[in-house]
Symmetry: C2
Subunit: 358 residues, 2 copies
């Protein structure tokens, strides 16, 4: 099997783990109490399958330097900065052109987010190997992640007829939007719905064909980039073409429209680290049910999630709160409101003098 | 009427408003959103009755410089630093000797705490004038503060037979310890119980006579100090004698034993600023019931007390919490647990590496 290549998408605005995450230091640069930032963990995780030389990172332009500092294995040209965010479809298109040029058009590209977590690395690598084989045969592959709870925050794929049951490969019957709580419960019970975590495998040639079919408007721009890669100034061209891309996800632009999509059942302990409460899944709570990162003293404090970069967080008589101290910013909210953090961020965006805290 | 003198007691360990108050910056140095620190407010408040030249401040030795910086009106010799804390009786004894020497033995001394709040300044000054006259006639006077709630955190005085009903002067029938909640309700309803706020008036000679009678062990030490004031090294003597004083309050040592104690009914809007919840009495809560000092953004946040020295405190979906950020320390607790802050401080004292946060 030829070695695949990997696109690590490392954009992100740093809102879900605010104030630990900020615009200049989004989630993929956080450690969550582990040794390395998520972006480094992601690169290391795929190491046995994809060498650093076959990795491309695409992030937002202001983050290129921070990402590069974390990933000294990568050459500068392996980290592209988007001048503006245009969601995943244009990003994947650019990566397919880049990889086709640097490696080959029939090279399998694995598409990953740099800020997700995988508990079971061996199972993950096995899945990627199986997926790479299927992708090399021409399939569009999406990893279907075993749901472990009735999650309303993810999209789902519904399993269709099997392609290779032993390998865990199935046709995708359909893609399903984020469900409500009752539907999510039904999905979990039914067994034929898997989380669509945005981990894709396909050859560069195949995804570009699909884009030509379903998103033809971007093809002239991608061609310009391809020419520049052959001997022009690709950085300048990217700068110029990016704002002209439509702002659209790969799911909406291609996956929900294409034929012959295959999903690979993967039980890999995946988590997208969606909000602060995920810390309870990442780390064992202490004897009082608290998950603590950083210096903390709690008197009669139970079921809390505490994060402090330095200094001290002290609590008395509280339960089920999230308390985060980062620099001179403090956040307090109940755990069951953690998914609404975006509303608070929205308030901060309204006031120019608060922008510095984002 | 001869001008009285004033002892401002300005010790304090900075525990009740931790982490805004610290050992190096206790409550009397805080502003609570007002223009001046409490110690400055206290000096200004008595200005029309007592000139700065007739004021003596006694604080703990490590605080002398900070207090002096706040009170440039005072000469260095008007601020004494206790090398060790010995509660109020020795402090008042030292002050009585100091004032008798600098002013005269029959000078009336007003004893105040530097970290209390008085809403009705004119009524306060009227009460002090009346109290000064009674003290000049030889009475031991304690201000009896009109209770405005069934407070369990204060001691009370029970009114006895009137001495001068028009002036509001009554004999004290007895002193009562901090009551439980039911007793406090009865006290409030009965009308003849007043808060004992620790505001005293007497002549230097009279209080020293009472000490000679009820606390004779301290008299030789006070005599040594008196001699040093006449032409020795009073600072050095204070340093030497202070550790030998008993650790005892004036209430316990003298007031509960002496005859002929008079209380003056005073409706002055007094508050000892006992814990963080007092901010709700000092400041009008906003339309969502929050009292906010410093930069704050709250989404669906009600009935909270927020204090931030700088940076930003952000809350989402919480109610009735106290959230304080000071430097790199954060405190979160429900308002109804604010009186238990001492227990948390106790935890901090257990761990040497946390001492720097106290």
């Amino acid at each position: 099997m030829r070695q695949p290549a990997c696109l690590m998408m490392a954009g992100g605005r740093g809102e879900r783990f605010w104030p630990a995450s900020r615009s200049h230091r989004p989630k993929q640069l956080l450690r969550f109490g582990m040794k390395d930032p998520l972006v480094v963990q992601t690169l290391r995780r795929i190491g046995p399958l994809v060498s650093p030389a076959r990795t491309l990172v695409i992030t937002s332009a202001p983050l290129v330097e921070s990402i590069a500092a974390c990933l000294p294995e990568l050459k500068p040209e392996q980290i592209l900065g988007e001048p503006v965010g245009r969601n995943t479809a244009p990003c994947i298109g650019v990566a397919a052109v880049w990889m086709a040029q640097h490696f080959s058009p029939d090279c399998v590209m694995i598409v990953l987010s740099a800020d997700h977590y995988v508990a079971r690395r061996d199972a993950f690598l096995d899945a990627l190997r199986t997926g790479t084989e299927a992708a090399a045969q021409g399939h569009l592959v999406t990893l279907g992640l075993n749901p472990t709870r009735a999650e309303t925050g993810y999209g789902y794929v519904e399993l269709g007829r099997p392609l290779d049951e032993e390998a865990g490969l199935y046709r995708v019957a359909r893609f399903l939007e984020k469900p409500d709580a009752i539907t999510a419960q039904k999905f979990l019970a039914a067994g034929k719905y898997l989380w669509n975590g945005g981990i894709f495998l396909w050859t560069c040639a195949r995804i570009l064909e699909e884009m030509e079919r379903h998103l033809p408007s971007i093809m002239p721009l991608l061609k310009e980039y391809q020419e520049a890669l052959k001997g022009g100034r690709p950085g300048q061209v990217l700068e110029r073409i990016y704002p002209q891309f439509p702002d659209i996800s790969i799911d909406y632009a291609v996956m929900e429209k294409a034929e012959d999509i295959v999903t690979l059942k993967a039980n890999i302990g995946w988590d997208d680290l969606g909000n602060w409460t995920v810390l309870e899944r990442l780390r064992q709570p202490d004897s009082e049910g608290n998950v603590v990162l950083g210096p903390f003293v709690g008197e009669d404090t139970r079921g809390c999630i505490i994060s402090a970069d330095a200094g001290l967080v002290a609590t008395l008589g509280v339960k089920n709160l999230v308390v985060v101290k980062d620099g001179d910013v403090v956040l307090v909210m109940p755990k069951d409101r953690a998914a609404e953090l975006k509303q608070l961020i929205g308030r901060l965006k309204e006031e120019p003098s608060w922008e510095k805290f984002l």
